[in-house]
Symmetry: C2
Subunit: 205 residues, 2 copies
DNA sequence: ACCCTCTGTGAATCCGGATTCACATCGAGG
DNA sequence: CCTCGATGTGAATCCGGATTCACAGAGGGT
């Protein structure tokens, strides 16, 4: 289109690179990874296909970076929840962390689906695994603390953390799937999860 | 290869058409729909790409038929479970139906994933929806019976049935996903589900 | 003014999966 | 024997998405 829009000035929201990432995020939120084609992404930004390759070596790399950003945001939110309840007994903090996770996922179902379960490029899959591990480790640390303090019964914290992350992911992926006529209400899922979590860690408190 | 294997005689397991369906099923069980390419399917049967089109108008039609068969088997199993417990109170029968569903899914995780949540052709998606509906109706009938008999509290049976199917699907899709380092143990998922189900219908008995 | 880099463009090109096409072959009937 | 229909084959062809390529304008630095 020979746009010739004056660069440098507050064009829209920063460089094209950022806008590509933002567009990709939008697309993923709307229709999952499958919907985020190079064509769609670049069109949304208002550039051509090939412009994307000025900023990323491949679509997979773009997605991997997007993924990394989103996941690190999720992780931060979970850690924040743990911090906020620093005074509370450990089981409550575990619950808070997982409910934060679940609540955010339910608030943005398609994104959560893409993050948790949608088939993706191997490159992106690697990021997914890496963050899943971080979630686990975060939780395991909390559990270790609880076990040391006596508010959580003796048990393998890594195992339990893994199970919890898995369980929550589990419960989240379902209501998010493209099917599901009347999707389970958010509160229902949350409360079921809450119960599950308390039972799972066998809280002493 | 100009095989010239004598036809008609107990070649392997029936006509090519059936063998194509069987091969597709295997593939889906191993790697989901994504793994079931025309090439792979026909190769397994020992014919070429194009031979498949002698038996199905398209890959999507083949998959739809496969889907229909598998789902109707699942439905039959669930109905069987309901029948077997005809003497029991309705909540127990509801539980039996859902546990049958869950148990079968957990025994064949990839297949369950493909059936419940994997993205598929619209044609196949239509079959999925159709069967999901049948599961619901099956369950709703049972609930209606329970409500009439007083073993289940007054409530909208269709809504509850939908929620139950959704919830179980929910819990099933997670442990099945490609990720999940140490997948939750089958018994754990089953028992969590069992509890959820009883609570959900608010059994009176 | 000149050159160099950054950022774009539009038109190829590549690629993998699905689908079609122009033949063969086999077995059944007439 | 000859034709027909069902079943296969192998070589195209089609298609949609990703990726590359040759070329161009815009500014900055010297």
């Amino acid at each position: 289109m020979t746009d010739t829009t004056p660069r440098g000035v507050a064009d829209v929201t920063g460089g094209t690179r950022e806008r590509l990432l933002a567009a990709a995020l939008e697309l993923v939120q709307e229709g999952g990874y499958a919907a985020a084609s190079v064509k769609e992404i670049s069109e949304r930004v208002g550039v051509t296909n090939s412009a994307l390759y000025r900023h990323f070596p491949s679509k997979a790399e773009l997605c991997a970076e997007l993924f990394r950003r989103v996941c690190s945001g999720e992780l931060a939110a979970m850690q924040g929840a743990a911090q906020d309840g620093a005074e509370l007994p450990v089981p409550d903090r575990v619950e808070a962390v997982l409910m934060t996770f679940a609540g955010r996922a339910l608030a943005n179902p398609r994104l959560a689906w893409a993050l948790i379960a949608e088939p993706v490029d191997p490159l992106v899959e690697a990021e997914r695994l890496s963050y899943r591990r971080k979630y686990r480790e975060n939780l395991a640390g909390l559990l270790r603390e609880g076990i040391a303090g006596g508010s959580v019964p003796e048990q393998d914290p890594d195992l339990i953390a893994a199970a919890l992350v898995g369980a929550v992911g589990e419960a989240l992926v379902g209501p998010v799937s493209p099917v599901a006529d009347p999707p389970p209400r958010k509160e229902d899922v949350m409360s079921a999860l809450r119960i599950f979590v308390r039972r799972a860690i066998g809280t002493t408190a």
